[in-house]
């Protein structure tokens, strides 16, 4: 059912999905060591519970959630903790992040799992707590802790659980393969989420270029009522929550609003699968399916791997590289991030590893804006990318915000269509980063002032205490001298 209020803007990049979508998910072998960063989620670092030299079992909790918005980390295989400390992060900066490195003992021995009873007979909050303990985050790349979303959702009236199977990024086919091969588990997971949120219905949204996934999900949903499989047009960025909600419900999520404010909670297919595994079998999130693709990969396909395996290990599982990649990406080509090397680990939010050839990467140099407004037409959020970039360029950050920067989802549609090859998204990322930096500086300024005041108060008290002590001594001295004969 297509609604006329559907998504505005959007682009149609080449999908490059055929090769990896055609093959079954394959299990990667066990790597020699796994690298588990303490922050693979949005929020605070997890706090290590083990020390170097400790033996750990697969599935053992090795780092606890730091704060309310955080996620625990579990050992993804059995072995010995080699080190806890900085490793190169899967991040374009190439900077280090703290991680727990486990040397695999090759046995891959599970810890005794706490096998839950029938989850449908349990209280919703207990189930949400289980999801939190399993360390599940948004697996479509958003990496927001899934349990936080569930708990927030439980406080609102959620009408619809929206399972996002649109997978609009080019090259990526993990969700497609998951839906084809594990449709029943996904439907079961969606029903568990529905139970947690007491939602009325479940909608599974899939783009029309995945006919086999659509058929598989329809078949799996058949026995249950109140589950609809909705087919959406193939359009980038259909997988963005705001766009998908608008397409499916016809409601526009208000600017700066949450999707829960229109009664919808969106979870990616991979997240729903992980939630099902946690609630049915007590399994924490320690593995995931990753699409390994791009012109430099010998045989592109989907690989199921333990979290923390080096990217090189996955590339090897796909026959290795045929060529020196011009670009190495984590995630899709539109929103993914460049990787500093193939030694960085696969993290919970890693949807894909792409090794792209020179011809697959746009290398054209930037020329001045011709004000063609193609970027405006392409922007799914209805913003003014050219104006935002112009203002970001001259550091007019408030101006850029006024032109729409605060609503930008960094989807890259504008940069994709720009005939002048202006790196629009990089301008936006720069401006957003600069805004954060200023906010942090202002926060530190306030903190400094607070510390100053506290110190002054302390010093004053010390002076007063000294004076009082002196006075007391004096009066005591004089009273003793008086009483003396």
């Amino acid at each position: 059912m297509l609604k006329w209020s559907g998504v505005k803007g959007g682009v149609h990049p080449d999908t490059h999905k055929d090769r990896s979508a055609a093959l079954k998910i394959v299990q990667a072998s066990l790597p020699d060591c796994v690298i588990l960063p303490l922050r693979q989620h949005a929020g605070a670092d997890a706090i290590p519970l083990v020390k170097p030299g400790d033996s750990v079992l697969k599935g053992q909790l090795i780092a606890a959630a730091g704060t309310e918005v955080s996620a625990p980390v579990h050992a993804s295989t059995s072995g010995r903790v080699r080190k806890i400390g900085p490793v190169q992060a899967p991040h374009p900066s190439g900077l280090a992040a703290d991680a727990i490195v486990i040397e695999s003992d090759g046995d891959d021995r599970w810890i005794d799992l706490d096998m839950p009873d029938d989850p449908f007979s349990q209280a919703p909050m207990e189930l949400a707590e289980r999801v939190a303990r399993a360390g599940i985050v948004g697996m479509g790349g958003a990496i927001f802790p899934a349990a936080v979303k569930l708990k927030q959702g439980a406080r609102h009236e959620i009408k619809t659980v929206l399972v996002n199977g649109s997978e609009c990024e080019p090259y990526l086919t993990t969700d497609d393969r998951l839906m084809r091969e594990r449709a029943e588990q996904i439907v079961d997971g969606a029903r568990l989420i529905q139970h947690i949120l007491r939602a009325y219905r479940i909608v599974i949204a899939i783009e029309d270029n995945k006919s086999e996934a659509i058929a598989a999900m329809r078949a799996a949903a058949e026995p249950f009522g109140a589950i609809e499989v909705e087919v959406t047009p193939t359009l980038y960025p259909m997988g963005s929550a705001k766009q998908l909600i608008q397409e499916i419900t016809g409601h526009e999520v208000p600017a700066e609003g949450r999707s829960t404010s229109v009664g919808v909670l969106v979870h990616n297919v991979g997240t729903v699968y992980a939630i099902q595994q946690a609630l049915r079998f007590g399994r924490p999130l320690i593995s995931r399916v990753v699409t390994v693709a791009g012109g430099c990969i010998k045989s592109p396909r989907n690989v199921e791997t333990v979290i923390g395996a080096p990217v090189q290990h996955l590339i090897d599982a796909c026959g290795g590289l045929t060529d020196e990649p011009a670009q190495l990406l984590l995630g899709g080509p539109m929103m993914g991030v460049t990787l500093p090397s193939t030694q960085v680990p696969v993290i919970k939010g890693a949807t894909g590893v792409l090794a792209l050839q020179r011809r697959e990467v746009s290398r054209a140099t930037e020329s001045p804006c011709i004000r063609c407004a193609r970027c405006v037409q392409a922007c799914p959020m209805g913003l003014l990318p050219l104006e935002m970039a112009r203002r970001a360029k001259v550091d007019d950050l408030d101006g850029a915000d006024a032109a729409g920067l605060k609503d930008c989802i960094l989807c890259g549609s504008c940069a994709y269509v720009c005939p002048s090859h202006i790196p629009l998204v990089q301008y936006f990322q720069y401006a957003m980063g600069e805004q954060d930096a200023r906010k942090n500086a202002a926060r530190k300024n306030d903190y400094t002032r607070m510390l100053m005041d506290a110190r002054n108060a302390r010093l004053e008290k010390e002076v007063a205490a000294k004076a009082a002590a002196k006075a007391a001594k004096k009066s005591r001295a004089s009273s003793t001298s008086e009483s003396a004969p």
Partner: protein
């Protein structure tokens, strides 16, 4: 004649009194209210990195145009922006904001004399007599008072390190 003299004289006295009272009632606190406003924005650590003896002296100098709006390293880019709006100048005219610095102690050389601890305006130094001291990076404003106080010369200042939390994309070059 006498009448006119008395009247003018009386008028003079009355108006004089009125002016005197008005001057007291409508007195402007301090000198320039802008100085107070700017001072309230400044970090207040009296660190002296700006080259003035303390934040209020710097605020006065800023209003009089004798200090650049980027003179305060602990204030960072955020303060530059605020000062630019208040003083009606462009933030870019000041050039780059100064790089914020932080101090750290070389533990191998620290004797635990507590001098840096007593000098720090934000209580960022933790330590006690005869113990190795350490500086809490989050509370340090990079004012270098501890470095000046240290008899062992074991406090050094360096630019705030870039971490995954503070890193961000730089502005695209060209065009």
């Amino acid at each position: 004649m006498l009448m006119a003299t008395l009247m003018l004289g009386g008028l003079g006295i009355a108006l004089g009194l009125l002016l005197g009272v008005a001057a007291r009632v409508f007195a402007v606190e301090g000198e320039n209210p802008l100085v107070k406003q700017i001072e309230s924005l400044m970090p207040g650590s009296q660190c002296g990195q700006c080259g003035f003896p303390g934040c209020s002296a710097a605020a006065t100098a800023l209003v009089e145009g004798e200090a650049a709006i980027n003179c305060c390293p602990p204030g960072g880019r955020a303060l530059v922006e605020q000062l630019a709006t208040l003083l009606g100048v462009s933030a870019d005219s000041a050039g780059a904001a100064p790089v914020p610095m932080v101090a750290s102690i070389n533990e191998a050389e620290c004797t635990g004399c507590t001098r840096c601890y007593r000098a720090c305006p934000t209580d960022a130094v933790v330590g006690a007599n005869g113990q190795i001291h350490v500086i809490l990076q989050a509370a340090c404003t990079g004012c270098a008072k501890c470095a000046e106080a240290c008899p062992e010369n074991c406090v050094s200042l360096h630019p705030e390190p870039i971490t995954l939390d503070t890193w961000h994309w730089s502005k695209p070059q060209a065009a």
